[in-house]
């Protein structure tokens, strides 16, 4: 156990295993972060006193100038002594549910598309989380991956992840080789993430690409359950028709029996059909929703190329960026 002193004299305690981000969030400190994997660069800090172990000194989130100025990434550093650091905690990052580590057991696997399956894990004690958040999953072999929850915390089923099979990816292959009837135990650490659904009077747009489907489905499920007057427009994109959900499948998945959600699918590599528009999903969304986007909250999840393109386009047309919610993953 080491003490981590923040500017102004506040401190939190970090054990020998947690990174600084994990240690801070477990104790309710709003340490700036997003990806938890060294890519986004949001958790930069300066070490003023003491010693840390840097798990990934060449992480993509650090520039040469950052290194020159002595900055490190808090999601890649563990304290080796009591330390004093320079960083500005921000209420935006204060966790509503503090992340915790626990064991979990695989209880079900369901096929969604030709390469996406829904895996449900039951933790020892129920995990509280908000729609749109993610958890770190540690497999029996020790690999760690971040996956977003697709279900709702209060449905008591455990946590459900939608996992896309990556060709040649040994982690997803290990998952796809699992069977729910064997006693497969994993470790779960969560919840994390700031792209969770917010209370607001505005209507909602969800944009999902590939395995970014899970957090958007969670938000859609919460919307159906809440039965609010707000409208929700849901866009889901893939390359081919086999990658997407048909309308009936989508409605069954989110429990939308009366069709309150406006669902549009998009395919980028095949021509349009009665099931899907042709184009990249963010472009299809922009074409369909027209110019009045500032009246919406927009949630998105998917490949970096998609989220970056959507973010740039929205910024260029003057969209109020505080109404765009997504976590950067790399």
């Amino acid at each position: 156990m080491h003490k981590v002193y923040l500017p102004g004299g506040d401190l939190f305690i970090c054990n020998g295993v947690d990174t600084l981000v994990q240690g801070a969030l477990r104790q309710g400190v709003g340490f700036p972060y997003e990806c938890n994997s060294g890519g986004c660069g949001t958790c930069k800090f300066i070490l003023e006193e003491g010693e840390v172990e840097d798990l990934n000194p060449d992480a993509a989130g650090l520039s040469d100038r950052d290194k020159r100025k002595g900055r490190k990434l808090a999601c890649q550093c563990r304290p080796l002594s009591d330390i004093k650091i320079k960083v500005s905690p921000d209420p935006l990052y204060t966790p509503l549910h503090k992340p915790a580590i626990q064991h979990a057991k695989l209880v079900s696997i369901e096929t969604l598309t030709h390469n996406i399956r829904a895996f449900t894990f039951k933790p020892d004690t129920p995990m509280d989380f908000l729609p749109g958040q993610y958890a770190l999953l540690t497999l029996p072999e020790g690999d760690i991956r971040a996956y977003s929850m697709a279900n709702l915390a209060d449905d008591h089923s455990g946590v459900e992840f939608f996992i896309k099979q990556v060709p040649g990816g040994h982690v997803t292959q290990a998952l796809f080789d699992m069977h729910s009837d064997t006693d497969t135990k994993v470790s779960l650490d969560g919840p994390y993430g700031i792209a969770y659904s917010r209370t607001s009077p505005r209507n909602i747009i969800c944009v999902a690409g590939g395995s970014g489907l899970a957090p958007m489905i969670s938000i859609a499920r919460a919307h159906v359950q809440a039965g609010t007057q707000r409208k929700l427009y849901f866009f889901f994109g893939g390359q081919r028709h086999e990658d997407i959900l048909e309308l009936e499948q989508f409605r069954r998945l989110v429990g939308d029996s009366t069709g309150i959600i406006q669902y549009t699918a998009a395919v980028s590599d095949e021509t349009a059909s009665e099931c899907a528009d042709n184009g990249f999903v963010h472009q299809v969304m922009l074409e369909r929703m027209g110019q009045a986007l500032s009246e919406f909250d927009i949630y998105c999840a998917g490949p970096p190329a998609m989220t970056t393109a959507l973010e740039s386009t929205l910024h260029a047309i003057g969209f109020p960026m505080e109404q765009l919610y997504y976590d950067r993953f790399f």
């Binding site: 660069g41 949001t42 989130g61 520039s63 100038r65 950052d66 950067r328």
Partner: protein, 112 residues
């Protein structure tokens, strides 16, 4: 002070003696986004002041050559091109052409 700009798309920012090399100069507006004026190797550069990553004023950031660092999460931009140069910033900033007329610095509002 006389405004001698012949072109209505020129917006008066400041006297050319006001911007310093070591920090950005904030020019607030009521009717449009605030801008930051930077001076580098004797040239003036104008960019929107609010960081494209979060609600931070880039005028309060540290200058490093032709780049400015955001004071929130230490991302950075080139104030010459507006391109992001360090994570977590990913969206280019809007930059403006400048014009000096009788020792007054103007930005060119190409949107007008």
């Amino acid at each position: 002070m006389t405004h001698t700009a012949a072109n209505e798309n020129y917006i008066l920012l400041c006297d050319i003696t006001e911007p310093k090399e070591e920090s950005g100069l904030l020019i607030p507006f009521n009717d449009r986004a605030n801008v930051a004026v930077f001076k580098y190797e004797g040239q003036f550069y104008v960019m929107d002041d609010k960081c494209s990553h979060g609600d931070a004023s880039l005028c309060e950031g540290e200058i490093d050559g032709d780049e400015v660092e955001c004071p929130f999460h230490a991302g950075a931009f080139s104030f010459v091109t507006g391109e992001p140069t360090a994570a977590p910033c990913t969206i280019p900033m809007k930059v403006y052409r400048t014009k000096v007329i009788e020792d007054q610095l103007y930005m060119v509002n190409d949107d007008a």
